[in-house]
């Protein structure tokens, strides 16, 4: 009995907190807030993976390599692949948003900006360090709120791997540079 009361109380408290996240508006949380929140998780995970796994084990300790062909090479998955596999899993589960990692200087040409918003946004975040880009676009008959966040070289491994990659179109990345952008799309009613 006591346990149920606690659970009930806890769920009321958490619903109140959740409602608060919506900025007090009755329509739930705004696309921008949702995108910002999603991005903060993505960025944190991405930085942790690069610093604690890739940079430490592949670059400093040199006990294992990181490779695009991680299965064949028995190596660590690249940060960009880690990110994409996550995005694919999310898509497979049918989540109501999608995300990808793009760049104006892509190693993998499939990661170059394609839609108008992607082109505009990636240029904007490269020219305005520290700023995000927000816009709306229609793709395949659906309207999306699209947010683009700078993806920054947070560890030496980011820089050296990209500058030395045989398919890279740019070889002068430095720590702290914007190397590309995370694009998050949330469908909105038109």
């Amino acid at each position: 009995m006591k346990k149920q009361t606690i659970i009930l109380a806890a769920s009321i408290v958490s619903s109140v907190i959740l409602a608060g996240c919506g900025g007090g508006k009755s329509g739930g949380i705004e696309p921008k807030e949702m995108a910002d929140a999603l991005h903060s998780v993505m960025e944190a995970d991405r930085t942790v993976y690069t610093r604690l796994i890739i940079n430490r084990l592949a670059k400093e300790e040199k006990v294992i390599k990181a490779s695009e062909h991680w299965k064949d090479e028995k190596a660590l998955v690249l940060p960009a692949q880690m990110f994409r596999y996550g995005a694919e899993r999310v898509a497979e589960k049918g989540a109501p948003f999608s995300y990808s990692l793009l760049s104006e200087w892509p190693v993998n040409k499939q990661n170059k900006p394609k839609t108008d918003i992607e082109k505009k946004g990636l240029t904007y975040i490269a020219e305005n360090p520290g700023k995000n880009f927000y816009g709306e676009e229609e793709l395949g008959g659906t309207k999306y709120f699209t947010a683009i966040y700078p993806d920054v070289a947070v560890a030496p491994a980011c820089v050296s791997c990209h500058n030395e990659h045989k398919d890279t179109p740019r070889t002068d990345f430095k720590i702290g540079d914007v190397m590309g952008g995370v694009v998050i799309r949330i469908p909105v009613k038109s």
């Binding site: 299965k71 898509a91 990808s100 040409k109 394609k114 839609t115 793709l139 395949g140 008959g141 659906t142």
Partner: protein
């Protein structure tokens, strides 16, 4: 002249007749009247098991997609499919999906359209790569001017399986000799290893050499001395597998009784991984759908006339009691298959190597039988166990034939030589009895790019 009434009456009678006929067909074994067109070589054997694909009479694309994936999903995953559905559900690819809906298998692989089905089961014009990779030459100047029909037909790329064709893989294997120093396939695992991946009833049949006095068949069945001798000379008697281990079946009241003719299910008690392969390939796919076994007479490729009525089960190739693996690896195949590739085998160097191996003049697994390439050694995983067995789905690496590069050819040959050999259809017909007469440019392109980068 017909009156209006009479015409209506006729119409009614004909309609009722038709309905009765169709309902009867629907409930009968032969449902051929419902086939909308000839089925492709991949599915013709099971075309009468309509519900294998059409799992729901009212389902649309999604139902079919699930059906495709329920049989082919796992192999695509293993092949690191280069174009999985998840690539195309991203809204940034919405424009591409309108050109070619690569989210659904049936966009390219339409069934019941035999007239337009190409070798790979593809029913769209083969230059479809163009729709997304039109600008490939910007990134790869070497590809400027190449015909988009040639992407997947010249031995360079596949839509799904590129495990042996990606650039870094080619680069890693540049400069390999035609024949490698250690030319052999992986040896099969020993019995103790094998037991880690199967459910062998060890309490009932402990592992120990059995002899004549141990025979546990009913006295009538135990009389046949030929059978007893065959059994005694094989691994089964050596490992403690007594007669009743295979020759029993469960009655309706769940009691165990003797059976003279065990089915493939009896074999699966201990050989489940092999049976799973067998049921997934063209030898066993009818059994997998609870149809009668496959017969050479039903095949679309050439078969020996006197073999037409043989039924495909485990013992068709392995025979019963003797279970001679050497026979199963060549003679059994050639007792049915009658196409040029099969007929040329005995004139090939591969066959010479095989004869040496079985004569004990060459190392284990250095000979090349039909099974070496078509039922290749694979690593079967169960928990932490990694056990080498023979893949019994002979279609697993058959098409596109670049699937054979890693699973077979590269065990003995350099990659460049192997790619060339597999691209030469004439050479395949004569069963590799001469040298490749075709050269695929992919390795040259890689070589050139490596040089350019190092300058």
């Amino acid at each position: 002249m017909f009156t209006n009434k009479a015409a209506w009456f006729f119409w009614l009678i004909i309609t009722i007749g038709l309905v009765i006929y169709l309902v009867m067909q629907l409930n009968s074994k032969d449902k051929t009247v419902f086939l909308p067109g000839k089925t492709s070589h991949g599915h013709h054997q099971i075309e009468m098991a309509c519900s294998a694909c059409h799992t729901d009479a009212f389902g649309g694309k999604d139902v079919l997609q699930n059906a495709c994936m329920s049989c082919h999903g796992e192999e695509l995953k293993i092949a690191d499919d280069s174009h999985p559905k998840s690539k195309f559900t991203d809204p940034r690819n919405a424009d591409r999906v309108t050109k070619l809906d690569a989210r659904a298998c049936i966009t390219c692989h339409v069934e019941h359209q035999e007239e337009i089905t190409l070798a790979m089961g593809v029913t769209v014009p083969e230059d479809f790569c163009f729709k997304c990779h039109e600008d490939v030459a910007e990134e790869r100047p070497s590809h400027a001017g190449l015909d988009f029909y040639s992407c997947a037909t010249a031995g360079c790329h596949n839509f799904h399986d590129n495990r042996a064709l990606y650039e870094d893989f080619l680069e890693k294997h540049l400069g390999q000799p035609t024949v490698l120093d250690e030319a052999k396939v992986t040896s099969k695992s020993e019995l103790q290893q094998y037991l880690l991946i199967v459910d062998y009833p060890i309490a009932q049949y402990p592992i120990k050499q059995l002899n004549k006095n141990d025979i546990d068949a009913p006295s009538e069945a135990a009389k046949n001395q030929d059978i007893n001798r065959d059994w005694l000379e094989t691994a089964h008697a050596e490992a403690g597998v007594n007669c009743t281990a295979c020759h029993t079946t469960k009655t309706e009241s769940n009691q165990t009784t003797w059976t003279d003719k065990p089915t493939h299910e009896a074999c699966a008690t201990c050989h489940k991984p092999e049976q799973d392969g067998f049921l997934a390939g063209k030898h066993g796919m009818r059994l997998a759908q609870n149809l009668t076994p496959m017969k050479p007479a039903l095949a679309k490729i050439e078969m020996k006339a006197d073999a037409h009525d043989k039924e495909m089960t485990c013992i068709s190739c392995h025979s019963s009691h003797r279970f001679d693996i050497k026979q199963a690896a060549v003679a059994s195949c050639l007792s049915c298959h009658n196409d040029q590739h099969s007929l040329s085998y005995k004139k090939s160097l591969h066959y010479v190597l095989w004869q040496k191996e079985i004569a004990g003049q060459a190392k284990d697994s250095s000979g090349v039988s039909c099974a070496t390439c078509h039922m290749p050694r694979i690593t079967h995983k169960k928990g932490e166990a990694r056990v080498v067995i023979s893949q019994h789905n002979q279609n697993d690496n058959l098409r596109p034939n670049e699937k054979m590069l890693r699973s077979v050819c590269m065990s003995c040959h350099g990659l460049e030589f192997s790619i060339d050999a597999l691209a030469d259809t004439g050479l395949i017909k004569n069963n590799f009895s001469s040298s490749p007469g075709i050269h695929v440019e992919s390795m040259d392109m890689v070589r050139k790019r490596v040089q350019e980068k190092s300058n």
